[in-house]
Symmetry: C2
Subunit: 343 residues, 2 copies
């Protein structure tokens, strides 16, 4: 049996460039893994009109994890690749823990005055299979003055409880052991009430973990005024999408923002990808920063139980970033080489 | 006939303290206005169980504008006062333009390194009567493992078009004449498509205004990495709630964040209130900053067509804030006195 079967979906734009580095680093730290490459994204769609052929999805399901680069291109209408590929994988592979660590690394600069490396260290546990992302909605009387469009947020006790429990599990293994629930209970009273009650119930199982609640608007403000206060944050799909981009911004941009769409039971493969997009404007030049992609590979290793290997990759990326000369040009492949050599 | 009939809902916590200053300043600049005070908020609710008695609502409807302080207290369950008072006024009085200017004023400091006063100057035009705020949703199988909770976002062409047109109108009267639409068209495809199509249609009526689209996650990031880029932003109710708190954070906090819930046709009274809450922790001490409340009064004057008076109030607040000694204690009433004397 193979050490690990990894599906590689490098995708569009800089996706292919950064994914090559992530793979290089996994290879260095976990020799003998099997890779299968899948050409999905804008190219496939523009050539064939297909986004995720059923046969490919079946093959993907046979892997331990999916290493994803970036999906998206201005030539494709909004939603097609997102709904048809990224979100389809999250939903069909029950990737209910959308994991997004944010850390201000040595060598990086926060746009926030006076915040120093090491001071921000949080992980947002974003629900990945429910909420407004389910695609429940429609349009009536399109293109007439009577048009209405709806979007429905669906939240189940099942879905809310499991992601909250995952957040508490993680908090318990961290230094500060603190979980913040973020929602908008004063307006979204139905879903908010379900989240609050479930949060309280799960919290009772973790007496060693301290808790806090914040509305999404207040939390977004605190992400700017005092991001140091956050340890583990648990929230719904849409709020998590927004909060993690603010968290990335205050930790110096999406250059270091890794993510995992995780099925913790490993019943289905989990997907690991940088938060950044395909960046068509700089694609093909070999200048994209692969740090976020390599850190996503570290999350992948962690998920496969390769804790020591994951730690080595994370440390190597941190060291590489800390050693950079501010303002000096960056070569994608050289960063990958340096990290691969260091692990 | 009276110069203006203003309903005063000072509300909870520091609401009463800051509203007194706002009223003092309106009095100084617009002598002869009639005021009626309404005791609404946590006190009334805790005493009587009522939030907005029908008779009070009828009386409020007879005013030109409502000056509101802050509503909310930990003793009241989440949603009761928000849904029953603040949102009820927005919906029943058709306050579809939720106006939130954000400016980095001289004398204030942004938490963002290197951003200087004068560089951030935007107004978010947030839709105020639709979206996820309509309260459409419910709970099934409560407190069982089968529980589900829903929230529905309702968007009409009517509602979307009028707020977008308002945003373009405002942009046309500003220096940069630029409108950014913020939504999440790649996930909320139904509502997103309605917003995008309507935005394009209205934009065609304003050839002198430049336009741009951003996803809410990207816009939230830009609010931190490059808030200078925004001029007028138009967005839905929930995204506007979040974005305006980030905008407040990067312009030095909610101390200067004013807002108006506006019915532009003046068929119903509009509400003007600071974005900050009732701050029970500092209530009663006379140390709350009334700047946001007074700037909200300036928005009120502007709405009533008192452009010169509004400008004088805004300038007086700006001057007062610029004259403050950093770190020196602030007395609510003295700030009010100084601004009232200056206008
Ligand atoms: C591309 C888009 C569908 C996706 C999301 O909204 O989840 C992205 O923004 C992310 O955060 O992974
Ligand atoms: C108090 C709450 C209902 C309100 C909102 O969500 O609109 C507040 O956050 C605001 O921004 O005015």
């Amino acid at each position: 049996m193979s050490v690990a079967r990894i599906a590689v979906v490098a995708g569009d734009g800089i996706g292919t460039e950064v994914t090559a580095q992530a793979r290089k680093v996994i290879d260095a730290v976990l020799p003998g893994a099997d890779y299968n490459e899948y050409d999905l994204g804008a190219r496939l769609y523009n050539r064939t009109g297909e986004v995720l052929p059923a046969s490919v999805q079946t093959e993907l399901a046979g892997h331990d994890a999916i290493l994803l680069g970036a999906i998206g291109d201005p030539s494709v209408p909004p939603g097609v690749l997102e709904r048809g590929l990224l979100l389809k994988l999250r939903f069909d592979f029950d990737q209910y823990v959308n994991l997004r660590p944010s850390k201000l690394w040595p060598g990086t600069t926060s746009p926030l005055a006076g915040v120093k490396p090491g001071e921000i260290d949080m992980v947002v546990v974003r629900e990945g299979t429910e909420g407004l992302y389910v695609g429940a909605g429609g349009v009536l009387h399109k293109d007439t003055p009577a048009e209405i469009a709806t979007e429905e947020s669906l939240n189940t006790r099942h879905g809310v409880e499991r992601v909250i429990r995952d957040a508490f599990d993680r908090a318990q293994r961290r230094d500060r052991k603190h979980v913040t629930l973020v929602h908008k209970t004063n307006v979204l009273t139905h879903a908010g009430n379900l989240w609050s009650r479930t949060f309280a119930a799960v919290a009772a199982e973790f007496p060693g973990v301290t808790t806090e609640y914040q509305h999404i608007d207040a939390a977004s403000m605190f992400m700017v005024s005092n991001p140091q206060r956050f340890d583990v944050v648990v929230t719904d799909n849409l709020f998590g999408d927004i909060l993690t981009d603010i968290a990335a911004a205050v930790t110096g941009g999406i250059g270091m923002a890794a993510s995992g769409s995780v099925n913790p039971e490993r019943k289905f493969p989990s997907t690991f990808e940088p938060v950044h997009g395909s960046a068509p404007d700089i694609a093909g030049q070999g200048i994209a920063d692969p740090a976020a992609a390599i850190l996503s590979a570290a999350l992948l290793l962690e998920h496969l139980g390769r804790h020591a290997e994951a730690a080595r990759v994370t440390e190597a990326v941190a060291a590489e970033v800390a050693s950079r000369t501010p303002g000096a040009p960056l070569r994608t492949a050289e960063v990958g080489d340096r990290v691969a050599a260091a692990v």
